[in-house]
């Protein structure tokens, strides 16, 4: 993705006409008393994992443009409004921010982007302010500037600029939201990312399943396969240029790699046996998968380019699934060797297999957080629930409580989980949902049809 260029703060200043005023803005003295404070306000910050703090009020007015110009993505003034909406929705959906209602927002003119009307915003109750601008460049690209202000302290906290082709204009909004989220929470970014999943429709007895890809907010949705064969369990390659998944093409359930650019797919392992549950290693060199031979399933790995698989487990029961730790040194997988489905961790070469789930009931679909600190899973009791535990076991917390929630996948920053929720009864419906690590923020992700088996991709390059 060389098309996406980051601009350092100073470069943005040179590029933006509004910049002339910028130098003065941070030097504004902080008349804390004027804001009715006895002392300087505490630093503006949001806690991701601390339970009860209220969402931070934040103002995100429409982003003005220096000149209304028509682009392939729409006119720049219209895009400026929509960019603010993207930032608003991302931050609101995180559950950590409470964006002001549109009626409370004032129209911001271009020079004001770097010289906010702090007195006005202070009266709205907003603690933080996000302003930005959009400009059409002579070369056809768009420049989007994004500025974060502390309303009480009347200071700029952060700024970034992005140059994007018109087709990627939404990404500039997600990047802006990521900047705000990162600066105010201290957590890593995750809004500029995509999800691959299985789009579903049709009767429960014969669901039609297609691979589909979309932005994490549901935009830019695209189907990748036509639904003639069952497809299951897609996962992004670390470089996001391909997707590994399982397909029943020709009634031979096996794992394939789909190249996003060309639309071509290739069989990974030439074998008569059932192969499934594929995942890339963090460095992209291997594909972890499961293979059933005569009723016995074990975990294997194979070079991503193909070749002879290497067997990693050899218990007589079902050993399957699996997920690499972010550093690639360990693998968490599921096994019924104890008599029921439980979670185990082993070294990447298959040695030192240790059970980590002991909470009663069964556990499946373990996925290692990209931060390395937690493992997400599906807990099977009467219902299916999404939970997390430490990689050594322990610290178990269940995050959802519905009839059947399955198949967690982590956001790039390891703070949000996407999963699918199935409906009880004859409809066969399932939908994509997200939940944060507190379990308090849960919402349905809009998809054109039903959805299952979501996999959240890394932050886009």
């Amino acid at each position: 993705m060389t098309r996406f260029a980051w601009i350092a703060g100073l470069a943005l200043i040179a590029a933006a006409p509004a910049v002339a005023q910028t130098a003065a803005a941070p030097q504004t003295p902080a008349p804390a008393a004027a804001a009715g404070q006895d002392q300087a306000p505490p630093p503006l910050e949001v806690s991701v994992t601390g339970g009860v703090s209220a969402p931070m009020p934040i103002a995100i007015p429409a982003m003005p443009t220096n000149a209304v110009i028509s682009t392939p993505a729409g006119s720049t003034d219209d895009l400026g409004r929509k960019l603010a909406e993207i930032v608003t929705n991302d931050l609101k959906n995180s559950g950590l921010f409470s964006p002001l209602q549109p009626a409370q927002l004032r129209s911001v003119i271009f020079p004001e982007v770097t010289a906010p009307a702090f007195d006005y915003w202070g009266g709205t109750g907003a603690q933080a302010l996000v302003q930005g601008f959009i400009r059409a460049n002579g070369d056809g690209n768009l420049t989007v500037g994004c500025y974060l202000y502390d309303v009480f302290s009347k200071i700029e906290l952060s700024r970034q600029g992005f140059v994007v082709p018109p087709s990627d204009w939404r990404r500039a909004g997600h990047k802006c939201a990521d900047m705000v989220y990162t600066r105010l929470t201290g957590e890593g970014p995750y809004f500029d990312s995509r999800v691959v999943y299985v789009s579903e429709t049709g009767p429960k007895a014969k669901r039609i399943k297609r691979l589909a890809i979309m932005d994490q907010d549901g935009a830019n949705h695209r189907f990748l396969t036509n639904g003639q064969s069952i497809v299951l369990t897609p996962r992004f390659a670390p470089n996001q240029q391909s997707i590994v998944y399982m397909s029943y093409v020709n009634d031979r359930p096996a794992i394939y790699v789909y190249d996003i650019g060309s639309g071509r797919q290739r069989l990974v392992v030439q074998n008569v046996n059932l192969t499934f549950a594929p995942r890339f290693s963090p460095d992209g060199r291997y594909i972890l998968f499961s293979m059933a031979t005569g009723g016995n399933t074990d975990v294997y790995r194979v070079a991503a380019s193909g070749g002879t698989p290497q067997r990693l487990t050899n218990s007589p029961g079902i050993d399957d699934g699996g997920s690499y730790s972010p550093d690639g040194s360990k693998i968490v997988f599921e096994s019924d060797r104890s008599g029921g489905q439980q979670l185990y961790v082993m070294n990447a070469d298959g040695s030192n297999q240790q059970r980590i789930s002991f909470g009663g009931g069964r556990y499946g679909t373990p996925v290692w957080s990209p931060r390395g600190d937690l493992i997400a899973f599906t807990k099977l009791g009467g219902a299916f629930r999404i939970g997390v535990m430490n990689p050594t076991g322990g610290g178990e917390r269940l995050l959802t409580n519905a009839w059947q929630d399955e198949g967690p996948s982590w956001s790039p920053n390891g703070r949000v989980i996407i999963f699918f929720r199935s409906s009880q009864g004859g409809s066969g419906k399932a939908d994509l949902w997200m939940v944060d690590l507190t379990g308090q923020v849960e919402r349905k992700i809009p998809t054109p049809l039903d959805g299952s088996d979501p996999a959240w991709g890394p932050l886009r390059p």
Binding site: A205, P253, L274, A277, A292, G295, D336, L380
Partner: protein, 173 residues
Amino acid sequence: MKLSTTLLAATALIAVAGCSKKRPETLPPAPMTDAAPGQVAPPATNPYGDAVVPGSDADFRRSVTSNTVNFDVDMYDIDPQARSILDSQAAWLTKFPNVRATIEGHCDERGTREYNLALGDRRANAAKNYLVARGVSPARLTTISYGKERPIAMGSDEAAYAQNRRAVTVVLN
């Protein structure tokens, strides 16, 4: 082991005989369980006097006790009822030694997707291994697991789950 193999073969023979009663020109008649004796007519095409081709999946499905065996929760062992069903399947397959079949393994919706793929493979192989023990060449049998992807009972209740935990033998024509 040798004794049990002989026993198995004998049982299979009996089953073959029982199944072949509809073709009195080649084998002695035997009492039917699924139709009155008077309904057996000397067939021009097949024992039913219709267009179903002997050796086809349609022929298989109406000739055997059932094309489906069921399993307990998270289990894959062949219980007595399943044995009886598979005996009838083995008999038919012995009668048509050139026919190939695939065995589908299925699960109810109370397992996770990938685990159910492995469990469905177990069930399909359990049925296959039984047929092989009954004398069907393993070269004639393939397996495929559908996990929980293809339920036949749509409810989310125990009765539906019990029907969906199954291995289905399908004759390939």
